[in-house]
């Protein structure tokens, strides 16, 4: 690592350590509560439409937060699309094999988690850009394999039809997505509040240090991979069951790897609220822009991303850090 890179990494590391007060959990609880009540808000004729948007926002939130958990252990991955896709495909194929959906969902997640252990073990010694490109290459390889398997196995390049989740009931689907996001939040908090937090942070801040501190790098890195990928797979299941159709080109697209990365940075890295809030704000911003700018709303969207990083280098959570309060969750 060059001196400049070390210097560049400094601001995040130097974040002052504060005691976590119960108050720090309030915004998070508020968010989850609001999300839970969302279907019951008096939104008039827009209720159904907003519920659909909210569903995909929850999926984006799960993706971003699960990516962030992996990033906390210093592994900046571009393989999130792979696990999202593996979850979607695993779920579809398990359903085809006759498993009930309630079983197919966790099994698909665990399968994706299992694959992630292999990837994690192999890329153990890579870091930074090298790690990112290796995980990107992995995603492309997985996509190509699924695409080239005979059509009778996994639908080939054409794709697979997936039965509707919960009979297509949008409220029930939303409730399920909310449940999975709440679960992801719990997992994230568990990582934050246990000794995992210190292990992950130590690894992120330099493996040498971690080794000196006696942290078992291998075990913790793999654990991070497993947790993160299983959760991403659940997001993939939600997507597949909602859109009824998956194909390699869309489910494994690079965009699905990059979105959680940008969302987390935009919201605030290494926090629980940040990625979830980031997903919400970005989706709402996109929707508003879409309606006001119409053509070329993505131009403005790109500009928003650029400006946000210039003015808010710590993401949305950076806004809160300036105020006096306890440590961030």
């Amino acid at each position: 690592m060059s001196a400049r890179q070390a210097e560049a990494g400094a601001p995040v590391r130097a974040a002052p350590r504060r005691e976590i007060t119960p108050g720090a959990a309030l915004p998070l609880l508020g968010f989850l509560l609001l999300a839970a009540l969302f279907p019951f808000l008096p939104l008039g004729s827009r209720a159904e439409f907003l519920l659909q948007i909210a569903f995909f926002t929850l999926v984006a939130g799960i993706m971003a937060l699960s990516w962030d958990i992996l990033a906390r252990s210093g592994q900046v991955s571009l393989a999130h699309a792979a696990f999202y896709g593996l979850g979607a495909y695993g779920y579809a194929l398990l359903l085809k094999a006759g498993l009930p959906w309630l079983l197919a969902m966790p099994v698909a997640a665990l399968l994706a988690g299992g694959v992630s252990l292999i990837l994690g073990a192999v890329t153990m010694r890579l870091s930074g850009m090298y790690f990112a490109i290796a995980t990107l290459a992995f995603t492309e390889v997985v996509r190509t394999i699924i695409q080239n398997l005979p059509e009778s196995v996994a639908g080939g390049a054409t794709g697979l039809l997936v039965p509707a989740l919960l009979g297509g009931n949008s409220r029930a689907q939303y409730a399920l997505a909310w449940g999975l996001l709440a679960f992801t939040v719990l997992v994230s908090l568990a990582v934050r509040l246990t000794r995992l937090h210190f292990a992950f942070a130590a690894i992120r801040q330099g493996e040498e240090t971690a080794r000196v501190l006696g942290v078992s790098i291998v075990r913790f890195k793999l654990l991070a991979f497993f947790i993160s990928s299983s959760l991403a797979a659940l997001a993939g299941v939600l997507y597949a069951g909602k859109t009824f159709f998956i194909n390699p080109l869309e489910t494994f697209s690079l965009a699905n790897s990059i979105a959680p990365l940008t969302t987390s940075i935009f919201g605030g890295l290494y926090t629980t609220l940040g990625p979830v809030l980031g997903a919400t704000v970005l989706r709402v911003a996109e929707e508003l822009l879409h309606n006001s700018v119409k053509d070329g709303y993505l131009v403005v969207y790109g500009l928003v991303l650029m400006l946000s990083i210039l003015w808010l280098p710590r993401g949305l959570m950076g806004l809160r850090r300036n105020r006096k309060h306890g440590g961030d969750l």
Binding site: E48, F49, A157, L161, S170, T243, F245, E250
Partner: protein, 386 residues
């Protein structure tokens, strides 16, 4: 002009209770070329419909929405049109994945859908049990029927015996490729090569080398507009001798006809702006008057026909009642830029519009695309290289 303006104002004043049609199109993202072309077609049709008195005595209203070529955006937009804008009918639809994704809410709300695109077979499965689904674009197996018909002609009259197939490895190129090969074999062709390529990569060297060793009469490629020039270039450079280079991209590169490499390249289209068909000429003239240019995207006339026939069916039904409009729509029998339009069952859906007979085979001859098959539509004799 003044009277036009007056009627416009009058029509606008009487806007309450007007019939509303929602149009879901990929106005951004991967499918935006087709989506934007369709939007132009819809607006042209809207002008004509309202100038002729509108629908049910009121001006027709269109509500456009952008599906961003992504299922995750298409679903909310579809629901928005149906529940917030409260449209009476839905039109549009280009990509297959987004169309499948909206099949859920479409069934939930029993939405009436007059759908123009989405040719992949899984779409047919997804809408098989939907009672109000009118599909205009031929399903992908109809495209193939048309291609086979043309190749059989080449076999009889030009002694074409061997076919090499190059297809892109995505859903567009790979759909039903095994069935394609089988059908060619059954028709007495020798399929000497079946090779995948990555669209947009421009890497055709190895593929053409392989084809050269296989010595095909016809090279049939299934890819996108981005592949046309690189493939033609490589064929020329490696001096691959072909009877015919035949491709089926959804659209062709802008300005390709002016490039000498495009000479004699043949392809398939539902429609050509040069088509001699009377309705087509009328459409081209009207389009030129409104936009000042001529379009070569067949999604423009397809959208135009789509809205005109829907409006006519509503007017005939005299109500917006879905069942009654569907009954009238099923009786549609009009001449269009693509030929006669009627609805009849396809393999799985009840109301399929255009089928195999509507496809045109053309060749780049001189600086234009010229229809060469079916023979009765041919404007110039085809050029066969062997």
């Amino acid at each position: 002009m003044k009277t036009l303006l007056m009627t416009g104002v009058l029509l606008a004043l009487s806007g309450a209770g007007a019939v509303k049609v929602g149009v879901l199109l990929p106005l951004s993202g991967a499918g935006s070329v087709s989506g934007q072309a369709a939007k132009n077609g819809y607006q042209l049709a809207l002008d004509e419909i309202n100038r002729a008195g509108g629908v049910l005595g009121k001006p027709l209203e269109l509500e456009f929405a952008d599906d961003g070529s992504a299922p995750a955006k298409a679903v909310p937009e579809f629901v928005k049109l149906v529940t917030v804008e409260k449209v009476d009918f839905m039109a549009g639809g280009v990509s297959s994945a987004t169309s499948i994704a909206v099949s859920g809410p479409a069934k939930q709300y029993g939405t009436f859908m007059a759908w123009i695109g989405a040719a992949a077979v899984p779409v047919e499965d997804a809408f098989a049990d939907h009672p109000y689904f009118f599909h205009y674009h031929p399903w992908s197996y109809y495209n193939f029927e048309a291609i086979l018909g043309y190749f059989k002609y080449l076999k009889t009259y030009k002694k074409a015996k061997t076919i090499a197939i190059a297809y892109e490895d995505g859903p567009f190129g790979s759909a039903g490729i095994d069935a394609t090969v089988d059908a060619f074999r059954k028709a007495g062709f020798n399929v000497v090569m079946t090779e995948k390529f990555k669209t947009g990569s421009g890497n055709f060297g190895p593929l053409v080398s392989k084809a050269k060793a296989a010595k095909p009469d016809i090279l049939y490629w299934v890819g996108y507009d981005t592949d046309a020039l690189p493939l033609a270039t490589e064929i020329k450079q490696q001096n691959l001798q072909l009877g015919l280079l035949y491709g089926t991209p959804p659209s062709w590169p802008v300005g390709f006809e002016k490039n000498s490499l495009s000479d004699n390249v043949a392809g398939l289209s539902l429609w050509l702006s040069t088509s001699p068909n009377k309705d087509s000429r009328t459409f081209v003239a009207a389009y030129k008057k409104k936009y000042g240019t001529v379009t070569d995207e067949y999604f423009a006339p397809l959208a135009y026909v789509n809205l005109k026939t829907l409006a006519a069916a509503i007017n005939r039904a005299g109500t917006t009642d879905k069942a009654k409009v569907a009954a009238e729509m099923a009786k549609t029998n009009v001449s269009t830029p693509f030929g006669q339009l009627t609805f009849s069952p396809s393999l799985k859906t009840k109301y399929q519009g255009f089928k195999a007979g509507n496809w045109l085979h053309f060749q780049y001859l001189g600086d234009a695309r010229v229809p060469v098959f079916p023979i009765k539509f041919a404007q110039k004799p085809m050029v066969y290289g062997k």
